[in-house]
Protein backbone atom coordinates (compact mmCIF):
# COMPACT_ATOMS: atom_id res chain seq x y z
CA UNK A 1 0.00 0.00 0.00
CA UNK A 2 2.81 2.37 0.76
CA UNK A 3 4.50 1.95 -2.55
CA UNK A 4 1.06 2.66 -3.96
CA UNK A 5 1.05 6.04 -2.25
CA UNK A 6 4.42 6.92 -3.77
CA UNK A 7 3.13 5.97 -7.19
CA UNK A 8 -0.06 7.93 -6.67
CA UNK A 9 1.84 11.04 -5.70
CA UNK A 10 4.13 10.74 -8.67
CA UNK A 11 1.18 10.13 -10.95
CA UNK A 12 -0.66 13.13 -9.59
CA UNK A 13 2.41 15.28 -10.08
CA UNK A 14 2.98 13.96 -13.55
CA UNK A 15 -0.64 14.54 -14.38
CA UNK A 16 -0.44 18.13 -13.17
CA UNK A 17 2.73 18.53 -15.22
CA UNK A 18 0.98 17.19 -18.28
CA UNK A 19 -1.96 19.51 -17.86
CA UNK A 20 0.37 22.43 -17.37
CA UNK A 21 2.39 21.63 -20.44
CA UNK A 22 -0.73 21.17 -22.48
CA UNK A 23 -2.09 24.52 -21.42
CA UNK A 24 1.28 26.03 -22.16
CA UNK A 25 1.38 24.56 -25.65
CA UNK A 26 -2.20 25.53 -26.37
CA UNK A 27 -1.41 29.08 -25.41
CA UNK A 28 1.64 29.08 -27.67
CA UNK A 29 -0.51 27.77 -30.45
CA UNK A 30 -3.07 30.47 -29.87
CA UNK A 31 -0.41 33.17 -29.97
CA UNK A 32 1.18 31.82 -33.11
CA UNK A 33 -2.24 31.58 -34.73
CA UNK A 34 -3.09 35.12 -33.69
CA UNK A 35 0.21 36.35 -35.05
CA UNK A 36 -0.36 34.57 -38.34
CA UNK A 37 -3.87 35.95 -38.58
CA UNK A 38 -2.58 39.42 -37.93
CA UNK A 39 0.06 38.98 -40.58
CA UNK A 40 -2.36 37.58 -43.10
CA UNK A 41 -4.62 40.56 -42.55
CA UNK A 42 -1.96 43.21 -42.65
CA UNK A 43 0.48 41.86 -45.17
CA UNK A 44 -1.95 40.04 -47.43
CA UNK A 45 0.26 37.15 -48.30
CA UNK A 46 0.41 36.25 -51.97
CA UNK A 47 0.98 32.53 -51.87
CA UNK A 48 1.80 32.16 -55.56
CA UNK A 49 4.45 34.77 -55.22
CA UNK A 50 5.95 33.15 -52.13
CA UNK A 51 5.91 29.73 -53.68
CA UNK A 52 7.70 31.08 -56.68
CA UNK A 53 10.44 32.70 -54.63
CA UNK A 54 10.77 30.32 -51.70
CA UNK A 55 13.52 28.16 -53.23
CA UNK A 56 15.49 31.27 -54.12
CA UNK A 57 15.25 32.58 -50.56
CA UNK A 58 16.00 29.24 -48.95
CA UNK A 59 19.20 28.97 -50.97
CA UNK A 60 20.45 31.61 -48.56
CA UNK A 61 20.10 29.29 -45.57
CA UNK A 62 23.24 27.25 -46.21
CA UNK A 63 25.13 30.48 -46.79
CA UNK A 64 23.90 31.87 -43.49
CA UNK A 65 24.80 28.69 -41.64
CA UNK A 66 28.15 28.43 -43.40
CA UNK A 67 29.07 32.01 -42.55
CA UNK A 68 28.04 31.56 -38.92
CA UNK A 69 29.82 28.23 -38.54
CA UNK A 70 33.10 29.26 -40.07
CA UNK A 71 33.04 32.59 -38.27
CA UNK A 72 32.42 31.04 -34.86
CA UNK A 73 35.30 28.70 -35.61
CA UNK A 74 37.73 31.50 -36.31
CA UNK A 75 36.28 33.57 -33.50
CA UNK A 76 37.04 30.74 -31.09
CA UNK A 77 40.63 30.60 -32.27
CA UNK A 78 41.00 34.36 -31.94
CA UNK A 79 39.38 34.21 -28.54
CA UNK A 80 41.77 31.50 -27.41
CA UNK A 81 44.71 33.64 -28.36
CA UNK A 82 43.05 36.70 -26.86
CA UNK A 83 42.31 34.94 -23.59
CA UNK A 84 45.87 33.63 -23.41
CA UNK A 85 47.02 37.21 -23.78
CA UNK A 86 44.61 38.44 -21.16
CA UNK A 87 45.70 35.93 -18.53
CA UNK A 88 49.40 36.09 -19.36
CA UNK A 89 51.79 37.92 -17.08
CA UNK A 90 53.29 39.87 -19.95
CA UNK A 91 52.08 43.46 -20.04
CA UNK A 92 52.64 43.52 -23.79
CA UNK A 93 50.54 40.51 -24.68
CA UNK A 94 47.97 41.76 -22.23
CA UNK A 95 47.86 45.15 -23.87
CA UNK A 96 47.50 43.66 -27.33
CA UNK A 97 44.66 41.41 -26.23
CA UNK A 98 42.95 44.14 -24.27
CA UNK A 99 43.21 46.55 -27.19
CA UNK A 100 41.72 43.96 -29.49
CA UNK A 101 38.81 43.37 -27.15
CA UNK A 102 38.22 47.03 -26.51
CA UNK A 103 38.32 48.03 -30.14
CA UNK A 104 36.15 45.31 -31.59
CA UNK A 105 33.63 45.38 -28.79
CA UNK A 106 33.62 49.14 -28.86
CA UNK A 107 32.50 49.67 -32.43
CA UNK A 108 29.40 48.47 -34.23
CA UNK A 109 29.69 45.30 -36.29
CA UNK A 110 28.10 47.07 -39.23
CA UNK A 111 30.89 49.62 -39.18
CA UNK A 112 33.51 46.90 -38.96
CA UNK A 113 32.08 45.19 -42.01
CA UNK A 114 32.04 48.44 -43.97
CA UNK A 115 35.57 49.16 -42.87
CA UNK A 116 37.03 45.88 -43.91
CA UNK A 117 35.19 46.14 -47.18
CA UNK A 118 35.99 49.74 -47.97
CA UNK A 119 39.14 50.73 -46.12
CA UNK A 120 41.39 47.71 -46.21
CA UNK A 121 41.60 47.73 -50.04
CA UNK A 122 43.30 51.09 -49.74
CA UNK A 123 46.05 49.27 -47.87
CA UNK A 124 46.17 46.70 -50.61
CA UNK A 125 44.12 44.06 -48.80
CA UNK A 126 41.16 43.28 -50.98
CA UNK A 127 38.81 40.70 -49.59
CA UNK A 128 35.77 39.60 -51.57
CA UNK A 129 32.39 40.04 -49.94
CA UNK A 130 32.09 36.63 -48.31
CA UNK A 131 35.55 36.65 -46.70
CA UNK A 132 34.92 40.22 -45.62
CA UNK A 133 31.84 39.13 -43.75
CA UNK A 134 33.61 36.18 -42.20
CA UNK A 135 36.59 38.23 -41.12
CA UNK A 136 34.40 40.92 -39.59
CA UNK A 137 32.19 38.45 -37.76
CA UNK A 138 35.19 36.47 -36.54
CA UNK A 139 36.97 39.54 -35.24
CA UNK A 140 33.86 40.90 -33.61
CA UNK A 141 32.72 37.70 -31.95
CA UNK A 142 36.33 36.81 -31.17
CA UNK A 143 36.50 39.91 -29.01
CA UNK A 144 33.37 38.98 -27.08
CA UNK A 145 34.47 35.37 -26.75
CA UNK A 146 37.89 36.47 -25.51
CA UNK A 147 36.27 37.88 -22.42
CA UNK A 148 34.13 34.80 -22.03
CA UNK A 149 37.13 32.51 -22.36
CA UNK A 150 39.05 34.63 -19.91
CA UNK A 151 36.30 34.50 -17.35
CA UNK A 152 36.06 30.77 -18.00
CA UNK A 153 39.70 30.42 -17.13
CA UNK A 154 39.23 32.56 -14.08
CA UNK A 155 36.17 30.59 -13.06
CA UNK A 156 38.27 27.51 -12.46
CA UNK A 157 38.57 27.56 -8.67
CA UNK A 158 41.91 28.72 -7.34
CA UNK A 159 42.10 25.52 -5.32
CA UNK A 160 42.70 23.67 -8.57
CA UNK A 161 45.83 25.69 -9.25
CA UNK A 162 47.00 25.23 -5.70
CA UNK A 163 46.46 21.49 -5.84
CA UNK A 164 48.39 21.26 -9.09
CA UNK A 165 51.22 23.42 -7.78
CA UNK A 166 51.49 21.48 -4.59
CA UNK A 167 51.96 18.37 -6.75
CA UNK A 168 54.96 20.11 -8.25
CA UNK A 169 53.40 21.04 -11.58
CA UNK A 170 54.87 24.00 -13.39
CA UNK A 171 52.63 26.93 -14.31
CA UNK A 172 52.61 25.73 -17.88
CA UNK A 173 51.59 22.18 -17.03
CA UNK A 174 49.00 23.44 -14.58
CA UNK A 175 47.50 25.66 -17.23
CA UNK A 176 47.52 23.10 -19.98
CA UNK A 177 46.45 20.03 -18.05
CA UNK A 178 44.28 21.38 -15.25
CA UNK A 179 42.93 24.82 -16.09
CA UNK A 180 42.24 24.60 -19.82
CA UNK A 181 40.19 21.38 -19.78
CA UNK A 182 37.97 22.75 -17.04
CA UNK A 183 37.68 26.18 -18.63
CA UNK A 184 36.75 24.51 -21.89
CA UNK A 185 33.72 22.85 -20.34
CA UNK A 186 32.72 26.12 -18.78
CA UNK A 187 32.81 28.07 -22.04
CA UNK A 188 31.44 25.54 -24.49
CA UNK A 189 27.82 26.56 -23.90
CA UNK A 190 28.78 30.18 -24.46
CA UNK A 191 30.21 29.30 -27.85
CA UNK A 192 26.95 27.60 -28.73
CA UNK A 193 25.07 30.63 -27.56
CA UNK A 194 27.17 32.95 -29.65
CA UNK A 195 26.71 30.72 -32.63
CA UNK A 196 22.96 31.18 -32.39
CA UNK A 197 23.44 34.93 -32.07
CA UNK A 198 25.80 34.85 -35.02
CA UNK A 199 23.13 33.24 -37.20
CA UNK A 200 21.23 36.47 -36.88
CA UNK A 201 24.11 38.89 -36.97
CA UNK A 202 25.33 37.28 -40.15
CA UNK A 203 22.41 39.07 -41.77
CA UNK A 204 24.50 42.23 -41.58
CA UNK A 205 26.89 40.94 -44.21
CA UNK A 206 24.09 41.39 -46.71
CA UNK A 207 25.22 45.02 -46.98
CA UNK A 208 28.33 43.97 -48.85
CA UNK A 209 26.31 41.76 -51.15
CA UNK A 210 26.76 38.33 -49.62
CA UNK A 211 23.73 36.50 -50.86
CA UNK A 212 22.59 35.08 -47.56
CA UNK A 213 19.08 34.73 -46.24
CA UNK A 214 18.25 38.39 -45.66
CA UNK A 215 19.84 39.55 -48.90
CA UNK A 216 17.86 37.06 -50.89
CA UNK A 217 14.66 37.91 -49.10
CA UNK A 218 15.10 41.56 -49.94
CA UNK A 219 16.18 40.94 -53.49
CA UNK A 220 13.18 38.71 -54.07
CA UNK A 221 10.67 41.10 -52.65
CA UNK A 222 11.75 44.47 -53.89
CA UNK A 223 11.12 44.25 -57.64
CA UNK A 224 7.42 43.73 -57.05
CA UNK A 225 7.29 45.80 -53.88
CA UNK A 226 6.57 42.72 -51.80
CA UNK A 227 9.52 42.91 -49.43
CA UNK A 228 7.30 42.50 -46.40
CA UNK A 229 6.25 39.05 -47.52
CA UNK A 230 9.73 37.88 -48.24
CA UNK A 231 11.08 39.46 -45.06
CA UNK A 232 8.40 37.59 -43.20
CA UNK A 233 9.58 34.37 -44.73
CA UNK A 234 13.12 35.25 -43.74
CA UNK A 235 12.02 36.01 -40.20
CA UNK A 236 10.33 32.64 -39.99
CA UNK A 237 13.39 30.87 -41.29
CA UNK A 238 15.65 32.67 -38.83
CA UNK A 239 13.27 31.83 -36.06
CA UNK A 240 13.25 28.17 -36.97
CA UNK A 241 17.03 28.11 -37.29
CA UNK A 242 17.34 29.71 -33.88
CA UNK A 243 14.93 27.28 -32.29
CA UNK A 244 16.68 24.30 -33.84
CA UNK A 245 20.18 25.37 -32.91
CA UNK A 246 19.10 26.58 -29.48
CA UNK A 247 17.75 23.15 -28.88
CA UNK A 248 21.16 21.63 -29.54
CA UNK A 249 22.80 24.40 -27.58
CA UNK A 250 20.58 23.68 -24.59
CA UNK A 251 21.43 20.03 -24.74
CA UNK A 252 25.09 20.89 -24.90
CA UNK A 253 24.69 23.20 -21.95
CA UNK A 254 22.89 20.60 -19.93
CA UNK A 255 25.46 18.00 -20.82
CA UNK A 256 28.23 20.31 -19.74
CA UNK A 257 26.45 21.37 -16.56
CA UNK A 258 25.64 17.91 -15.29
CA UNK A 259 27.29 14.62 -15.96
CA UNK A 260 30.25 13.11 -14.28
CA UNK A 261 32.74 15.83 -14.60
CA UNK A 262 31.14 18.76 -12.88
CA UNK A 263 33.29 20.51 -10.32
CA UNK A 264 32.89 18.81 -7.01
CA UNK A 265 31.27 20.59 -4.17
CA UNK A 266 32.26 20.16 -0.64
CA UNK A 267 29.53 18.66 1.46
Amino acid sequence: MNQQLATDIMDARRQRGRVWRTQFMVMWGVIVAALLAFILVTIRLDSDFIQKWLPFILTGVPVTIFVALISIFFASILATLGALGRVSRSPYLNAIASFYVSFFRGTPLLLQILFIYLALPQAGIVLPALPTGIVALSLNYGAYLTEIFRSGIEAVPHGQTEAAQSLGMSDRTTFRRIIVPQAFRIVTPAIGNDFVAMLKDSSLVSVVGVQELLWRAQAAGRPTFQSMQTLLVAALVYWILTIVFSFFQNRLERKMATGDRTPERSR
Partner: protein
Protein backbone atom coordinates in the same frame (compact mmCIF):
# COMPACT_ATOMS: atom_id res chain seq x y z
CA UNK B 1 72.05 37.79 6.73
CA UNK B 2 71.83 34.03 7.08
CA UNK B 3 69.17 32.94 9.51
CA UNK B 4 70.28 30.39 12.07
CA UNK B 5 67.70 27.70 12.76
CA UNK B 6 66.96 27.34 16.44
CA UNK B 7 65.42 24.12 17.68
CA UNK B 8 62.80 24.59 20.39
CA UNK B 9 63.57 22.66 23.58
CA UNK B 10 60.37 20.66 23.18
CA UNK B 11 61.33 19.60 19.66
CA UNK B 12 62.89 16.29 20.49
CA UNK B 13 62.65 13.42 18.01
CA UNK B 14 59.44 11.39 18.36
CA UNK B 15 59.05 7.72 19.02
CA UNK B 16 59.29 6.50 15.42
CA UNK B 17 62.34 8.55 14.49
CA UNK B 18 65.56 6.66 13.72
CA UNK B 19 68.09 7.59 16.38
CA UNK B 20 70.41 10.40 15.35
CA UNK B 21 68.41 11.23 12.22
CA UNK B 22 68.69 14.90 11.25
CA UNK B 23 65.50 16.98 10.91
CA UNK B 24 63.68 16.48 7.64
CA UNK B 25 61.91 19.85 7.79
CA UNK B 26 63.15 23.06 9.26
CA UNK B 27 61.12 26.23 9.07
CA UNK B 28 63.04 29.17 10.40
CA UNK B 29 61.57 32.43 11.62
CA UNK B 30 58.76 32.55 9.09
CA UNK B 31 57.12 35.94 8.89
CA UNK B 32 54.10 36.75 6.83
CA UNK B 33 52.45 40.05 6.18
CA UNK B 34 49.24 40.55 4.32
CA UNK B 35 49.64 44.19 3.52
CA UNK B 36 50.57 45.64 6.89
CA UNK B 37 48.81 42.93 8.86
CA UNK B 38 51.39 40.68 10.48
CA UNK B 39 49.88 37.23 10.30
CA UNK B 40 52.96 35.14 11.15
CA UNK B 41 55.44 36.44 13.68
CA UNK B 42 58.63 34.46 13.40
CA UNK B 43 57.37 30.90 13.45
CA UNK B 44 59.98 28.17 13.54
CA UNK B 45 59.41 24.44 13.41
CA UNK B 46 61.64 21.40 13.38
CA UNK B 47 60.27 18.04 12.26
CA UNK B 48 62.17 14.78 12.26
CA UNK B 49 61.53 12.02 9.75
CA UNK B 50 58.66 9.81 10.81
CA UNK B 51 57.08 12.32 13.14
CA UNK B 52 53.49 13.47 13.10
CA UNK B 53 52.96 16.94 14.47
CA UNK B 54 49.72 18.88 14.73
CA UNK B 55 49.06 22.59 14.75
CA UNK B 56 46.16 23.81 16.83
CA UNK B 57 44.76 27.26 17.30
CA UNK B 58 41.82 29.59 16.85
CA UNK B 59 40.34 30.46 13.54
CA UNK B 60 42.42 33.26 12.04
CA UNK B 61 45.46 32.59 14.15
CA UNK B 62 47.56 31.81 11.06
CA UNK B 63 47.68 28.01 10.95
CA UNK B 64 46.80 27.71 7.28
CA UNK B 65 49.09 30.54 6.36
CA UNK B 66 52.00 28.84 8.08
CA UNK B 67 51.30 25.54 6.38
CA UNK B 68 51.03 27.23 3.01
CA UNK B 69 54.30 29.03 3.60
CA UNK B 70 56.00 25.68 4.08
CA UNK B 71 55.56 24.81 0.41
CA UNK B 72 55.48 28.40 -0.80
CA UNK B 73 51.87 28.30 -1.90
CA UNK B 74 52.06 31.52 0.06
CA UNK B 75 55.36 33.37 -0.28
CA UNK B 76 56.71 34.09 3.25
CA UNK B 77 57.72 37.66 3.92
CA UNK B 78 60.86 36.48 5.66
CA UNK B 79 62.38 33.23 6.84
CA UNK B 80 63.74 30.01 5.41
CA UNK B 81 62.17 26.65 4.68
CA UNK B 82 64.30 23.56 4.24
CA UNK B 83 62.73 20.22 3.44
CA UNK B 84 64.97 17.17 2.97
CA UNK B 85 67.88 19.24 1.81
CA UNK B 86 66.01 21.70 -0.43
CA UNK B 87 66.40 25.10 1.13
CA UNK B 88 64.41 28.10 -0.03
CA UNK B 89 64.69 31.54 1.44
CA UNK B 90 61.92 34.07 1.38
CA UNK B 91 62.63 36.70 -1.22
CA UNK B 92 59.52 38.78 -1.44
CA UNK B 93 61.11 41.94 -2.76
CA UNK B 94 61.95 40.61 -6.20
CA UNK B 95 59.71 38.90 -8.71
CA UNK B 96 60.26 35.15 -8.78
CA UNK B 97 62.68 34.16 -11.49
CA UNK B 98 62.80 30.92 -13.36
CA UNK B 99 65.51 29.48 -11.13
CA UNK B 100 63.68 30.34 -7.93
CA UNK B 101 60.48 28.85 -9.34
CA UNK B 102 62.26 25.63 -10.18
CA UNK B 103 63.64 25.46 -6.65
CA UNK B 104 60.19 26.00 -5.19
CA UNK B 105 58.82 23.25 -7.39
CA UNK B 106 61.59 21.02 -6.05
CA UNK B 107 60.53 21.89 -2.52
CA UNK B 108 56.94 21.08 -3.30
CA UNK B 109 57.90 17.65 -4.57
CA UNK B 110 59.07 16.92 -1.05
CA UNK B 111 55.93 18.25 0.61
CA UNK B 112 52.60 16.83 -0.46
CA UNK B 113 49.54 18.81 0.54
CA UNK B 114 46.01 17.77 1.41
CA UNK B 115 43.43 20.53 1.44
CA UNK B 116 40.30 21.07 3.43
CA UNK B 117 38.29 21.33 0.21
CA UNK B 118 39.96 18.26 -1.38
CA UNK B 119 40.62 20.11 -4.66
CA UNK B 120 40.38 16.98 -6.73
CA UNK B 121 40.51 17.58 -10.48
CA UNK B 122 36.87 17.24 -11.50
CA UNK B 123 37.59 16.57 -15.16
CA UNK B 124 39.69 13.51 -14.40
CA UNK B 125 38.69 10.14 -13.05
CA UNK B 126 40.06 9.01 -9.72
CA UNK B 127 42.88 7.25 -11.52
CA UNK B 128 43.42 10.31 -13.71
CA UNK B 129 43.79 12.42 -10.61
CA UNK B 130 46.42 10.08 -9.30
CA UNK B 131 48.54 9.66 -12.43
CA UNK B 132 48.44 13.24 -13.70
CA UNK B 133 51.39 14.52 -11.69
CA UNK B 134 53.55 11.38 -11.87
CA UNK B 135 53.26 11.43 -15.65
CA UNK B 136 53.58 15.15 -16.24
CA UNK B 137 55.95 16.09 -13.46
CA UNK B 138 58.02 13.01 -12.74
CA UNK B 139 57.70 11.84 -16.37
CA UNK B 140 56.83 8.31 -15.31
CA UNK B 141 55.61 6.08 -18.14
CA UNK B 142 51.88 5.77 -18.00
CA UNK B 143 51.94 2.12 -17.12
CA UNK B 144 54.20 2.62 -14.15
CA UNK B 145 52.16 5.58 -12.98
CA UNK B 146 49.02 3.48 -13.04
CA UNK B 147 50.64 0.71 -11.03
CA UNK B 148 51.87 3.21 -8.50
CA UNK B 149 48.44 4.86 -8.30
CA UNK B 150 46.67 1.56 -7.83
CA UNK B 151 48.90 0.77 -4.91
CA UNK B 152 47.97 3.97 -3.12
CA UNK B 153 44.31 3.63 -4.00
CA UNK B 154 44.34 0.26 -2.33
CA UNK B 155 46.00 1.80 0.68
CA UNK B 156 43.15 4.28 1.16
CA UNK B 157 40.66 1.51 0.47
CA UNK B 158 39.22 2.86 -2.79
CA UNK B 159 40.46 0.42 -5.41
CA UNK B 160 36.95 -0.12 -6.69
CA UNK B 161 36.45 3.64 -7.35
CA UNK B 162 39.36 3.75 -9.79
CA UNK B 163 37.30 4.87 -12.77
CA UNK B 164 34.72 6.93 -10.94
CA UNK B 165 34.67 10.72 -11.27
CA UNK B 166 35.15 12.80 -8.12
CA UNK B 167 31.62 14.22 -8.28
CA UNK B 168 30.30 10.71 -7.70
CA UNK B 169 32.21 10.19 -4.48
CA UNK B 170 31.24 11.06 -0.94
CA UNK B 171 33.25 13.69 0.89
CA UNK B 172 35.17 11.12 2.85
CA UNK B 173 36.04 9.21 -0.28
CA UNK B 174 37.14 12.38 -2.00
CA UNK B 175 39.48 13.25 0.80
CA UNK B 176 40.92 9.76 0.75
CA UNK B 177 41.55 10.11 -2.97
CA UNK B 178 43.22 13.45 -2.29
CA UNK B 179 45.50 11.77 0.22
CA UNK B 180 46.34 9.03 -2.26
CA UNK B 181 47.03 11.69 -4.88
CA UNK B 182 49.49 13.43 -2.60
CA UNK B 183 51.15 10.08 -1.86
CA UNK B 184 51.74 9.27 -5.53
CA UNK B 185 54.44 11.93 -5.65
CA UNK B 186 56.14 10.12 -2.75
CA UNK B 187 56.80 13.27 -0.80
CA UNK B 188 58.96 13.19 2.30
CA UNK B 189 56.47 15.27 4.26
CA UNK B 190 52.69 15.41 4.09
CA UNK B 191 50.90 18.64 4.95
CA UNK B 192 47.24 18.48 5.98
CA UNK B 193 45.12 21.62 6.32
CA UNK B 194 42.04 20.72 8.31
CA UNK B 195 41.42 17.65 6.18
CA UNK B 196 38.16 16.76 7.91
CA UNK B 197 36.57 20.16 8.40
CA UNK B 198 34.57 20.07 5.20
CA UNK B 199 33.23 16.63 5.98
CA UNK B 200 29.98 15.53 7.40
CA UNK B 201 30.68 14.41 11.00
CA UNK B 202 29.84 10.82 10.22
CA UNK B 203 32.43 10.74 7.41
CA UNK B 204 35.27 12.14 9.47
CA UNK B 205 36.18 8.74 10.85
CA UNK B 206 37.18 7.10 7.59
CA UNK B 207 39.59 9.90 6.76
CA UNK B 208 41.14 9.98 10.21
CA UNK B 209 41.63 6.22 10.02
CA UNK B 210 43.69 6.61 6.85
CA UNK B 211 45.68 9.41 8.42
CA UNK B 212 46.35 7.41 11.52
CA UNK B 213 47.58 4.47 9.51
CA UNK B 214 49.92 6.80 7.66
CA UNK B 215 51.21 8.14 10.94
CA UNK B 216 51.82 4.67 12.28
CA UNK B 217 53.57 3.71 9.08
CA UNK B 218 56.20 6.30 9.82
CA UNK B 219 55.19 9.03 7.35
CA UNK B 220 56.23 12.51 8.33
CA UNK B 221 53.07 14.58 8.69
CA UNK B 222 52.15 18.09 9.69
CA UNK B 223 48.46 18.35 10.43
CA UNK B 224 46.38 21.44 11.08
CA UNK B 225 43.24 20.16 12.68
CA UNK B 226 40.44 20.72 15.14
CA UNK B 227 40.16 17.00 15.86
CA UNK B 228 41.44 16.85 19.42
CA UNK B 229 41.22 13.09 19.58
CA UNK B 230 43.50 12.76 16.58
CA UNK B 231 45.94 15.31 17.97
CA UNK B 232 46.02 13.53 21.27
CA UNK B 233 46.44 10.05 19.92
CA UNK B 234 48.50 10.34 16.75
CA UNK B 235 50.73 13.36 17.28
CA UNK B 236 54.28 13.28 18.53
CA UNK B 237 54.09 17.00 19.16
CA UNK B 238 51.51 19.75 19.24
CA UNK B 239 52.09 23.36 18.22
CA UNK B 240 49.58 25.80 19.58
CA UNK B 241 49.33 28.92 17.50
CA UNK B 242 47.90 32.18 18.70
CA UNK B 243 48.02 35.42 16.73
CA UNK B 244 50.71 34.17 14.40
CA UNK B 245 53.01 32.76 17.04
CA UNK B 246 53.60 29.27 18.38
CA UNK B 247 52.88 30.06 22.00
CA UNK B 248 53.08 26.51 23.25
CA UNK B 249 54.94 23.51 21.86
CA UNK B 250 55.09 20.08 23.37
CA UNK B 251 53.75 16.54 23.40
CA UNK B 252 49.97 16.32 23.31
CA UNK B 253 49.68 15.09 26.86
CA UNK B 254 51.19 18.40 27.95
CA UNK B 255 49.69 20.89 25.51
CA UNK B 256 46.20 19.44 25.28
CA UNK B 257 45.71 17.89 28.65
CA UNK B 258 47.69 20.28 30.74
CA UNK B 259 48.21 23.55 28.87
CA UNK B 260 50.55 26.08 30.46
CA UNK B 261 49.88 29.11 28.28
CA UNK B 262 46.79 31.08 29.17
CA UNK B 263 45.73 31.38 25.51
CA UNK B 264 45.94 27.63 25.05
CA UNK B 265 43.89 27.07 28.15
CA UNK B 266 41.29 29.52 26.96
CA UNK B 267 41.09 27.91 23.53
CA UNK B 268 40.77 24.41 24.84
CA UNK B 269 38.22 25.41 27.41
CA UNK B 270 36.03 27.07 24.79
CA UNK B 271 36.63 24.40 22.28
CA UNK B 272 35.82 21.44 24.43
CA UNK B 273 32.95 22.92 26.30
CA UNK B 274 30.31 22.34 23.64
Amino acid sequence: MTLQHVVHPAEIPGSLVAPGAPPILQATAIEKYFGTARVLRGCSMTVFPGETVTILGRSGSGKSTFLRCLNFLEEPSAGVVEISGVRVEADPLRPRHEKASARIRQLRLHAGMVFQEFNLFPHLSVLGNLIEAPIHVKRLPRKEAIELAEGFLAKVGLSEKRDEYPSRLSGGQRQRVAIARALTMEPEVLLFDEPTSALDPSLVGEVLKVMESLAHEGRTMIVVTHEMAFAREAADRVYFMSDGEFVEIGPPQNVISDPQDERTQDFLARFLRA
